[in-house]
Symmetry: C2
């Protein structure tokens, strides 16, 4: 089984590529490296010193004897994409190759436009390449739980059966995304749904929650294989960011009251979910949607968990409730379903004190690399 991981140099993509390679899949990585370029532009660095992609792959070969083929380029360039696909001939395309930061998309008009064009055109190109040359290939696409927003009813997995005026239909679940980035994922979902329907393509949309953690069995084999860990106000996500803040003695940055509830998962579950989706492909003509998270927490709960664990380790931790730079409900109903991946065999790693301990220790190990000026959020959703 040949799997091409688009965006395979990123946080989820790198962990997934190595995991699948280790499991015996024949893996290729396609990446433009633009994520590293955005770090340079933002003058931000991952906490962890990540190696260049070619060094990463050499090291992986040395550690395991397994080769991962590399395609360097941008999927918004159709000729490049098609060339890579024809050379690699994937059975499955895993698509992580999008701009994935909500704050990045909200910096200004240029970043909003770039995010939507980049993400939508990249995915359209993949769909057309599949239609023209790989109609049986299975697309496993990274969506986000953020597509749903925070409706006052239970969140189902992609579709909802609605009874209305005495009639019933099962329709795409209504979407209320909260940034131009999240909107780009909603646009993708609609485009993929349509392409599957008219061309008989098969696709799985993984609406992923917020991922935490850094080590997987593979990335911990050697320091050169280390994964990125973002803590800056633009690309850093809750929990990872909190642990790094605790490690350097920076107050934990909770936006608003912290009552915002979200789905979360361990990166070791991300890679397993990818495998489950790949091993159990969608049917032709179908966009199947899985909600990919294992637990729900409020941001305040997470901050308190990190504070408790850090305090037990002798660290002093404050929690700072900042003015919320985002526009979002801070107290709301949130109940999302996530049974489909469990039904396929996912055995979740629950967030535990020991995981937080190990993340904290990991953060302490690299804390001299932290640039505190990058921690506070600088991008606002508000008009002025």
């Amino acid at each position: 089984m040949k799997v091409l991981v688009i965006g395979g140099d990123g946080y989820c993509g790198w962990a997934t590529a190595l995991y699948l390679s280790n499991k015996g899949y024949q893996v290729g990585i396609l990446d433009s490296l633009v994520r590293r370029y955005w770090d340079l532009q933002l003058k931000a660095e991952t906490l962890t010193p990540i190696a260049p992609i070619e060094k990463r792959l050499e090291c992986w070969k040395g550690e395991t004897g397994k080769s991962i083929e590399l395609f360097l380029g941008d999927i918004t360039n159709y000729d490049f994409l098609l060339g890579a696909l024809k050379k690699f001939e994937p059975d499955t395309i895993v698509h992580f190759g999008e701009q994935r930061s909500a704050p990045f998309s909200m910096i200004d008009r240029e970043h909003a436009v770039m995010t939507q064009v980049n993400n939508v055109v990249g995915t359209l190109n993949i769909l057309y390449a599949m239609k023209e040359h790989f109609p049986d290939c299975h697309l496993v696409k990274l969506g986000t739980m953020g597509e749903y927003g925070t409706p006052n009813i239970d969140i189902e997995e992609g579709y909802i059966t609605i009874e209305h005026n005495g009639r019933t239909d099962t329709l795409p679940y209504p979407k209320q995304p909260g940034s131009y980035y999240h909107l780009s994922k909603v646009h993708d979902t609609h485009n993929i749904q349509f392409a599957c329907k008219i061309w008989g393509l098969r696709a799985t949309d993984l609406n992923q929650g917020i991922v935490y953690g850094v080590l997987t069995d593979e990335t911990k084999m050697h320091e050169t294989l280390i994964n990125r860990l973002d803590y800056d106000g633009v690309f850093g996500t809750a929990l990872n960011r909190f642990c790094i803040q605790a490690a350097v003695g920076h107050p934990l940055t909770v936006y608003g009251t912290g009552g915002q509830t979200r789905g979360f998962l361990d990166i070791r579950d991300t890679v397993r979910c990818m495998e489950l989706a790949i091993a159990n492909p969608a049917e032709p003509g179908q966009l199947r949607v899985f909600n990919q998270f294992t637990e729900m927490f409020s941001i305040e709960e997470l901050a308190l968990k990190v504070k408790d664990a850090a305090t037990a380790m002798g660290l002093k931790v404050e929690i700072n409730n900042l003015d919320n730079p985002r526009f979002e409900l801070e107290e709301h109903y949130f109940n999302a379903k996530n049974t489909k991946l469990i039904d396929l065999g996912l055995e979740p790693h629950n967030l535990s004190d020991s995981l937080i301990d190990s993340l904290l220790n990991f953060a302490i190990r690299y804390k001299d690399r932290v640039d505190e000026s990058q921690i506070l959020p600088k991008v606002s959703w508000h008009r002025k």
Copy 2:
């Protein structure tokens, strides 16, 4: 009240600009003229000999004494857009400035990508310009009934109240658009909804049905003011296309069984709906959605109406049920609500035999301009 009509050189835009000008609004037209360029590329021409925009505006000035200011350029160019807005200072922006043909968007990958990028980026630029400089301006945006697809439940106006597992919320109506063009409108809707919410902008989304007719009180004042009337397989829409086909003795091109039911309206109602939306603006922070059509017909019903009227005029008419080039249900439930514009005062022109007669006579008048090679659909939704 100053109204800038973006796309004011097109079919709906031209009729709207003149109607509003006649009603005493101070009207500007912003247009890139790319719609005329697409005609050249397709080697297709409108049935009616439309005058260049500057001649149109001169003629309008001569007939009525009213000036319409012209801004020639593309809204995907933000600097141009901003310059025009700052010069004109609109109270309302009417946005018709999008690629509006489903078949055009389905020609190939390039046309799909161009349609989505053009439409989404143009609308994002308008939203950012409003946020930065015209936060009180009212955006009246042309959507389409095609955003909804053909769900098996009643179609509401933009939002639906859903009861689910004992809880209730009013959410965006689920969308199942049927082409990359229709998808671009769904993307726009989500983007506008978000911009209104976070920036307090005001917008009205007009989900328009299929427009028929050509003459309005204004465009019939002088032949130089004549509106476009498309009959080709790419830009021609049902009814207008059928009348022209009947006039030249070409069989009416019904796709599949013709059981597809859609909402329709007279172009004289389109312009009135625009006025109603402008005169009764949305509240700040709100994307208001109106379904803009007056009657529902199946395509087969329409073809039979045209056939009957044409036969009464002595024309010989055949109906051809072609293999459907599109991917759509041909027999389906369809019941869409359209009370909001009626509540604001719309008094619909119902489709009558006399309207069909006058359209037929109009088509006969220009029938020597018809290029029959342009009539049949050449763009397919299908994989092969």
